[in-house]
């Protein structure tokens, strides 16, 4: 990969921050956008904007086609069997809530068990927690081992015929751990449980294949993979989508409405009430095409190399503690850490003064913070447009932060 050439595709990467070149290392929060994505969105509004699935005129046809082409691009990107299985949502959070309020609402009973991992982002925990409260269901937590990987023995022993739903982060937004979802899905299916995979972190970095994983539901967020904000995807096997009641109601999701009867629309539109975010979908298609042109395997290999380099260099900072797997083959693109004596917010502010953007805080994963015995962590997260030089600048700034607070006994 020609990183210098790639960086030129991202207008924001050439800007200065506090009189220094921007070093953007908060990619797990959101990624920057290539010109192709920005132009796809402005191109829509300059050339063919019209509401989709409604008009009989040329603009509406073009816009509808572009929207549905985006669905096909998502299908191809995650290797789903059919576009019937691709529903556009606002983000991964909305996709996960859609499952909670439709399939899970209809299928879980008091005493049923929901198995989720300690690594979940709040978006794949809070909906199940609330569902469990509503239903009298029980939540079981898969713990993490000291090395930042899931305790698979514990997972196996948690599964039983009572397990109705399993929720797994494909990739931890804190540890960066890539969880063995394929194996976990097969184990859950043996007990008859449905499996929800939160792919918000994995889809940007590794090849996603619905045929290979065989999960029942998969959620992703467009803005974490070069796309615009406000567009996400829920994949569900069509057998699930067919059995599910609609989530939101209104226009688009119906075929026929009379005063005493309603016929719902076909899949996937049954789950897309109201005017959809076609702007977001069209932007997401441009993002997917950008990723496909680079190749997901190439992206993963480059990021793994970058992560390996980062782990090696960051460990040289005095009093640093790095969370998650130390084996770079078990993770991708994320390094969470603390430096003894320097709170992560202070690290964040000191790095910002050097033009370096990282995240500090609980990362919407408070159960995992509690499990690690901390209230906050700093996190550097990379994408394919980051470089070794940027990691060197990060490490230099971390040493500066440590120096400012001196050595604490």
């Amino acid at each position: 990969m020609d990183i210098e050439k790639i960086r030129k595709d991202f207008p924001v990467l050439s800007r200065m921050v506090r009189d220094r070149p921007l070093v953007y290392l908060d990619n797990a929060a959101t990624t920057q956008k290539p010109a192709a994505v920005i132009e796809a969105i402005t191109g829509l509004y300059r050339n063919y904007n019209a509401n989709v699935h409604r008009g009989v005129y040329l603009l509406a046809e073009e816009c509808t086609q572009a929207y549905e082409d985006s669905r096909e691009a998502v299908r191809r990107f995650i290797n789903a069997g059919s576009t019937e299985e691709i529903v556009f949502t606002r983000n991964a959070t909305e996709a996960l809530n859609l499952i909670a309020y439709t399939w899970a609402e209809a299928n879980l009973r008091a005493g049923d068990e929901i198995v989720v991992t300690i690594m979940e982002h709040h978006s794949n925990y809070v909906p199940w927690f609330r569902l469990a409260r509503r239903k009298g269901a029980v939540i079981r937590i898969v713990p993490a081992r000291k090395d930042g990987e899931l305790d698979m023995d514990a997972y196996r022993s948690l599964l039983s015929s009572r397990t109705k739903l399993v929720g797994i982060a494909h990739m931890s937004n804190v540890f960066g751990t890539i969880n063995p979802v394929k194996e976990m899905i097969a184990l859950a299916h043996r007990q008859g449980a449905a499996v929800v995979v939160d792919g918000a972190q994995s889809a940007p970095h590794i090849r996603i294949d619905m045929q290979d994983l065989d999960c029942d539901f998969f959620a992703l967020s467009g803005h974490k993979m070069l796309g615009p904000t406000g567009i996400g995807v829920l994949y569900a096997k069509s057998s699930y989508f067919k059995s599910m009641e609609p989530f939101l109601s209104g226009g688009e999701m119906i075929l026929r409405v009379t005063l005493d009867d309603i016929v719902y629309n076909d899949l996937p539109w049954k789950f897309e009430a109201g005017t959809p975010n076609y702007e977001g979908a069209i932007g997401l298609k441009a993002a997917i095409e950008y990723l496909e042109a680079l190749g997901m395997d190439t992206i993963e290999a480059y990021e793994r190399e970058l992560t390996t380099y980062a782990l090696e260099k960051m460990r040289t900072v005095p009093d640093i503690f790095v969370y998650g797997p130390s084996d770079p083959s078990k993770k991708c693109g994320i390094v969470a850490f603390n430096i003894r004596g320097v709170h992560s917010h202070d690290i964040g502010t000191i790095l910002d003064s050097e033009g370096i953007a990282i995240r500090a805080g609980h990362h919407c994963a408070q159960p995992l913070m509690i499990d690690c015995g901390v209230s906050a962590m700093a996190r550097a997260s990379f994408y394919f447009y980051n470089t070794r030089q940027e990691i060197d600048m990060l490490v230099k700034a971390l040493n500066k932060a440590k120096g400012m607070f001196g050595h604490v006994a």
Partner: protein, 140 residues
């Protein structure tokens, strides 16, 4: 903006060696608060003697700004009448908002005056004031 304005020596000193840190044996008022975004956590305990803040202690964890502010704030109000403490808190609030304030009343708390140049950190500096305010409201 420079980092030295934010991380003044006195702030780092209070962060690393906080005053009034711990718990009271018999607090008359207790309160707690947090910054949900960043995870700063703070508890305040107060013992009153008549209208006076006889003793105050804080506990919790968080960044240098939130913890040093708690240390400096407890130092500023300890032994003061509740009304005087409230006036100090009011001046402190003005300072963080960038309005004019009475520096004499604030004393060492003025070390936090440059936090206003770091908008993302104003919440850290405000936390102890908010938690203290809750505790003072418990005074009968």
């Amino acid at each position: 903006m420079s980092l030295e304005e934010l991380f003044k020596e006195i702030i780092i000193e209070h962060y690393q060696h906080p005053k009034n840190h711990g718990h009271l044996d018999h607090p008359d008022a207790k309160s707690e608060g947090s910054n949900p975004l960043c995870g700063d956590e703070l508890q305040m305990e107060i013992a009153f003697e008549g209208d006076r803040i006889k003793d105050v202690m804080f506990s919790g964890n968080g960044c240098s700004i939130s913890q040093s502010a708690a240390s400096l704030m407890t130092e500023a109000i300890k032994g003061k009448a509740v009304g005087d403490a409230r006036r100090i808190m009011e001046e402190y609030k003005h300072m963080l908002q960038g309005s004019t304030y009475n520096a004499d009343m604030l004393g060492d708390l003025e070390a936090l005056s440059d936090v206003k140049k770091f908008p993302a950190r104003v919440k850290c500096a405000s936390l102890s004031m908010a938690v203290l305010d809750q505790a003072l409201q418990q005074k009968k």
